[in-house]
């Protein structure tokens, strides 16, 4: 079976699975479907040689407008393909015993969610990306709504409307890019390859960049746009939260990497330091907010907010090691935070949600405690775990770039930001160990209802832990996979500075941006704005 059919399967299988599930077939079939997707994705992961993107489906959907169902595995989404395919079977395995796992709606929503996520990550067509970007909201919304906790209605609406608000501007930007392609090449096309070669004026690029960053900042989330996070993570069912934190938040980072950097190179380069500062602000805000949080789900939610900040920091350092770090961090954080939420879910399921009894786990459930501790250590970025590999590379790359920029005299903003981010690791250790202390240690209580992890349940966590240790100890093969995409992204920035003495000096950012896109004639008069370097 050639590669192309192979990629279509992970995309089509969940959709097919959904239909089968509408009937009364139990969760075993869902697990089979998800396992098949995992096997295929692992095979694709291995088959992807790091350079030529694996072509897959390329059916025309709206021929006249150049919108076609174009899915392919490339450097950017190879990790996320593996992450998504891995998370879903694990989440289902953990939710195996729960009440919701028996309802057909729950299972079909999971499959729809997987189909949407895989579609978003694999799509090579901008319009298709946008369609999947919003389509994922529906199953997630219903999942929170139907299987969520007491405040589910408010949480689901907040989640849906907040995330959707981001994509109001994004849709306008997507269509604008299509218009630019029509104006510059005569025919409508939304293919990423073609759009990234377009020559956008400064005004258009600024508008597209602002739209993409806003939409992704809500999705990630980043600091000021995270009000929906504690609500949604607190109310959703454990499996839903694990998927939201593990895979959905990665869509935000993926959107930045796939849309912001290649499509608006000039603006990205000029605004990179400010975004680095914003990311670090988000890191510190998340860490400090998590310090005194006594609701465990909210604590892990804020920790996820902080770790997403690291990814954005890595992306906008536009430096090779930092980009590798950001990609690895997506995988590592996805696995670690999903693991944390799944363990919390298992505990809530055993204790019927009363978090008062959720202490001294080490005495009552030693195996569960060990698994939870391993996930905590990954989030603390302990060496030999994937957390360290990614955060080391991110901070390393960001530091090299920031120091080079400072020495070349273009402001110490980024350098200060990186120093703050490195101190963020201490804060990270602070709140995560406080979390460990609150939940794991402390005096044993008589008659606690915690049943320890059964071997079958432990089996679900084994792939996550294996992946964490593998990336932690031996990340080289992973990085080889993403090498092509990273070099392509670093080409984006002419400011790429090589480490070592006498790095290339940073040229000044080009002339100040001309008139704003909203002046009526601003955009319609051909490709307005300076034509860049």
């Amino acid at each position: 079976m050639s590669d192309s059919q192979a990629v279509r399967f992970p995309r089509a299988l969940p959709a097919v699975g959904t239909l089968a599930l509408a009937g009364s077939l139990p969760r075993i079939l869902t697990m089979l479907v998800m396992a098949a997707v995992l096997v295929l994705s692992a095979w694709l992961f291995r088959a992807y040689d790091g350079a030529t993107p694996l072509p897959a489906v390329n059916l025309p959907w709206i021929e006249s407008l150049g919108v076609n169902l174009h899915l392919a595995v490339d450097g950017l989404n190879v990790y996320l393909l593996l992450l998504t395919a891995l998370l879903f079977p694990v989440v289902l395995a953990c939710a195996w015993r729960s009440a919701e796992a028996r309802s057909g709606l729950y299972l079909s929503l999971l499959l729809l969610l997987e189909a949407g996520l895989l579609g978003t990550f694999l799509s090579q067509n901008l319009m298709l990306f946008f369609v999947f970007w919003e389509a994922v909201l529906i199953p997630m919304f219903i999942l929170i709504l139907v299987f969520g906790g007491g405040e589910a209605r408010r949480a689901a609406t907040a989640f849906f409307l907040y995330t959707l608000a981001g994509s109001v501007l994004l849709l306008a930007a997507v269509i604008l890019l299509g218009v630019e392609s029509w104006r510059q090449t005569g025919s409508w096309s939304f293919e990423f390859a073609l759009l990234s070669r377009l020559h956008l004026g400064w005004g258009t690029e600024l508008f597209v960049f602002a739209a993409v960053v806003l939409a992704c900042a809500i999705k990630c989330p980043l600091f000021p746009f995270h009000s929906w996070l504690p609500l949604a993570y607190g109310e959703a069912p454990a499996s839903g939260t694990a998927l939201m934190a593990g895979a959905l938040s990665k869509m935000g980072a993926f959107g930045l990497m796939k849309l912001a950097l290649p499509l608006c190179p000039n603006v990205s380069v000029v605004l990179a330091p400010y975004l680095v500062l914003w990311a670090v602000g988000s890191i510190l805000y998340g860490a400090v907010a998590a310090l005194r949080q006594d609701d465990f789900r909210k604590l892990v939610a804020y920790s996820s907010l902080s770790h997403m900040g690291y990814i954005v920091l890595g992306l906008f350092s536009l430096q090779e090691a930092a980009l590798h770090g950001a990609l690895l961090q997506m995988l590592s954080h996805g696995v670690a935070v999903a693991g944390l939420f799944l363990v919390l879910g298992l505990l809530e399921e055993r204790l019927g949600g009363s978090s008062r009894e959720l202490t001294a786990l080490a005495t009552h459930g030693p195996r569960l405690a060990v698994v939870l501790m391993l996930f905590i250590l990954t989030s603390v970025a302990l060496p030999l775990t994937s957390g360290f590999t990614s955060e080391f590379l991110i901070l390393f790359g960001a530091f090299q770039k920031a120091l080079a920029a400072w020495r070349a005299g273009s402001g110490a903003l980024a350098l200060v930001a990186v120093l703050l981010a490195t101190s963020g690791m201490v804060l990270g250790a602070g709140y995560l160990l406080r979390f460990a202390r609150a939940i794991l240690f402390g005096p044993a209580r008589s008659g606690s209802r915690v049943r320890d992890l059964k071997p079958r349940e432990a089996l679900a966590f084994v792939p996550l832990l294996l992946l964490i240790v593998w990336i932690g100890v031996f990340p080289a093969p992973f990085m080889a996979k993403a090498q092509s995409a990273v070099t392509q992204l670093t080409q984006v920035s002419p400011l790429f500075v090589k480490g070592g003495p006498g790095g290339i000096s940073v040229p000044q950012p080009e002339s100040n941006p001309p008139k704003s896109p909203f002046v009526k004639g601003g955009l319609s008069s051909g490709n307005g704005g300076a034509d860049g370097r």
Binding site: R292, A362, F396, T422, P443, P475
Partner: protein, 638 residues
């Protein structure tokens, strides 16, 4: 899988075996695995050491490529050169002994296997730190050791206090690690490599600028202070005594706390070209030594006395490093590992006998009940105080000598050193008199329990005591080398990496003898004062304390370091997190992004729906209005 790679992997195997299936194995199997594997790796180290000592070249082995990017290439590689050999010997040697000792000490603890799993995990990370060929491997070991000490300090996790101490240890270490990682980034930026040999070679040739060199050196110093509990990051060491005593012996005496000295010696290329940083190292070390000693004076908890003594001795080592005499610091590290481990294990035996009692005021007169433990404790104390012919004398004297004669040194520095070593003698023998002599004020039923520790523990104490005695002779100071004509094999062995000790001219050598005499006198004075205050006139201690008054209060509260950190760091963070973020910012954000827009839209909805009055003619009026507006618009624009 060559022998070098096996050295760290054997303890890792021990950890995996005991960690995963330990609770189901019988205790003797767990003990066998736990003691056997470190011993095997000690044997391997000894083998490699012998080859290296016989003029062999340093063995390096690249396990795999960790990261291979266009311009950032680093391998997971191990290197067994002279410095690593010495450290490896200490770590695996003392480590195996302490594993053996722990078998007896933890015999009746319910999570026996988990303890040994953590201990071997610690050994694995320490070996990774020591054998690491580049900064990345060392950093992996560095933080690994931090988490192992966190697990071991908080071993009895039922007690919230112990876990708090463990957390404090890890977080303070993390502050140091941040300094280390930033230094590594800076080094890469300028030297383009993370390899120790490459770094030293690069900085020997090209120093970017004094400011850069000093920044890198100071950041490394921050990392070293975090790990070696030097001021200002020393606050975690006394609390770390919450862990089992063999843990304190291994981690907080012999191995982990010396990682800072190892790092400084490893990167001597950087430090030798950062004079300003060197003075900071010297006076930082001296200050820590002095303050550590003063704090040791006022302690009543036996283990805390030893903890402060460790801090003080490492201050001496830092002083030596600061003076450029890295090999002297190393020799003191070598000897200190033995006698400090012996002291801790001795204290462990005492605490074991008194069923967990650590307060010296409720001990006394144990010499009769535990003669052998007392003897080993005495040997180690004498070594610590620098009384010849014990090991401590040779290594500490060499440090005092370089404090006097080395370029960075000065008589004032030497004076601080001597006074501190005098105080060391005083508090050590104060501990001895309080614990082993005088009336036994342990509670009644505990008294019969006083017995010699089981043979497995006694053997270890014996070996360590012997080493404290014998270890000194392999690194004779300059004067004795001249006088007795013996070479100093320790220094010659380390020469290729750390260079020779500063060979003072013949005349200056004459000055070494009186200094040595003064040092011994200071030690003797300290011992006499301790004997006088604590066994002849026990009530004098009380009187002395009142008269000291304020000074005693300051010292006993650890110079308010803890209080300052809590007020300056911990409380503001909590306040920021709880009062500002949780209450104000989050609620404002929630209101701003979730509540207000919804209210706004509802208000607009109420307003708009009032337009629907129900009367057709009202609707018609809107139509006319609309029509009029359009027509005016059309007319004005045509």
């Amino acid at each position: 899988m060559t022998r070098l790679a096996l050295i760290p992997l054997l303890p890792l195997a021990g950890f995996l075996v005991n960690g995963l299936v330990g609770s189901r194995l019988p205790r003797w199997v767990v003990a066998l695995v736990a003691c056997g594997l470190p011993a095997a790796s000690f044997a391997l180290t000894a083998g490699l050491f012998r080859e290296l000592a016989a003029g062999g070249t340093p063995v390096t082995e690249t396990l795999f490529t960790w990261a291979a990017l266009a311009d950032f290439r680093v391998d997971a590689a191990l290197c067994f050169d002279q410095v690593a050999a010495v450290m490896c010997l200490v770590v695996t040697g003392v480590g195996s002994l302490i594993h053996l000792y722990s078998v007896g000490y933890m015999a009746h603890d319910k999570s026996f296997a988990r303890y040994f799993a953590y201990l071997t995990l610690f050994l694995f990370f320490m070996l990774l730190l020591v054998l690491g060929k580049n900064l990345l491997m060392t950093f992996a070991g560095w933080e690994g050791v931090g988490i192992a000490s966190y697990l071991l300090i908080g071993f009895w996790f039922e007690d919230g206090e112990k876990n708090a101490a463990a957390m404090k240890a890890f977080i303070v270490n993390r502050v140091g690690d941040t300094g280390f990682i930033l230094a590594a980034f800076l080094i890469w930026f300028f030297a383009g490599t993370l390899d120790f040999r490459g770094i030293n070679a690069f900085f020997a040739v090209a120093q970017p600028s004094a400011a850069v060199m000093n920044t890198i050196a100071l950041l490394l110093l921050l990392g070293a202070c975090g790990k070696s509990a030097q001021i200002p990051l020393h606050v975690w060491l006394p609390d770390a005594m919450a862990g089992p005593t063999p843990v304190s012996a291994l981690i907080h005496a012999a191995t982990m706390v010396t990682a800072g000295v190892y790092l400084l010696s490893r990167l001597n290329g950087v430090f030798l070209h950062a004079p300003a940083a060197m003075t900071v190292v010297v006076w930082g070390g001296a200050l820590t030594a002095f303050l550590g000693a003063t704090m040791g004076l006022v302690q009543f908890n036996l283990k805390k006395v030893l903890a402060y003594s460790t801090m003080s001795q490492i201050g001496f080592m830092f002083m030596a490093c600061g003076l450029g005499a890295f090999q002297v610091a190393f020799f003191h590290l070598f000897t200190h590992a033995f006698f400090k481990a012996c002291l801790f294990l001795g204290a462990g035996a005492v605490i074991h006998a008194l069923h967990g009692e650590e307060d010296m005021r409720r001990m006394g007169g144990l010499a009769k009940g535990m003669p052998f433990t007392f003897l080993t404790f005495l040997f180690a104390s004498l070594a610590l105080c620098g009384v010849p012919p014990f090991a401590g004398f040779f290594s500490k004297d060499e440090i005092l000598w370089s404090a006097w004669s080395a370029a960075g040194g000065s008589p004032a520095l030497w004076l601080v050193g001597s006074v501190t070593s005098g105080m060391t003698a005083f508090y050590m023998f104060r501990a001895i008199f309080l614990t082993f002599f005088g009336p036994c004020n342990a509670p009644e039923k505990a008294r019969e329990g006083i017995h010699e520790p089981p043979p497995s523990m006694a053997v270890v104490l014996g070996i360590l005591a012997f080493c404290s005695l014998a270890a000194g002779f392999i690194g004779l100071p300059g004067f004795w080398r001249k006088a007795l004509g013996f070479p100093a094999p320790f220094y010659d062995f380390l020469a290729p990496v750390l260079g020779h000790p500063p060979e003072a001219g013949g005349a200056v050598h004459q000055a070494e003898l009186p200094l040595m005499a003064i040092a011994v006198l200071a030690a003797a004075l300290g011992i006499f004062l301790a004997w006088f205050c604590y066994s002849r006139r026990p009530h004098w201690a009380g009187k002395l304390r009142e008269r000291a008054g304020v000074a005693h209060g300051v010292v006993s509260r650890g110079y308010f370091f803890d209080a300052v950190y809590r007020r300056v760091v911990v409380r503001p963070a909590d306040w920021l997190s709880e009062a500002v973020l949780a209450r104000r910012v989050e609620t404002a954000l929630d209101a701003g992004t979730l509540a207000k827009p919804v209210d706004g839209v509802n208000a607009a909805a109420r307003l708009f729906s009032r337009l629907q009055t129900g009367s057709v003619q009202g609707y018609l009026f809107y139509v006319l209005l609309g029509l009029a507006l359009i027509l005016c618009w059309g007319v004005t624009h045509v």
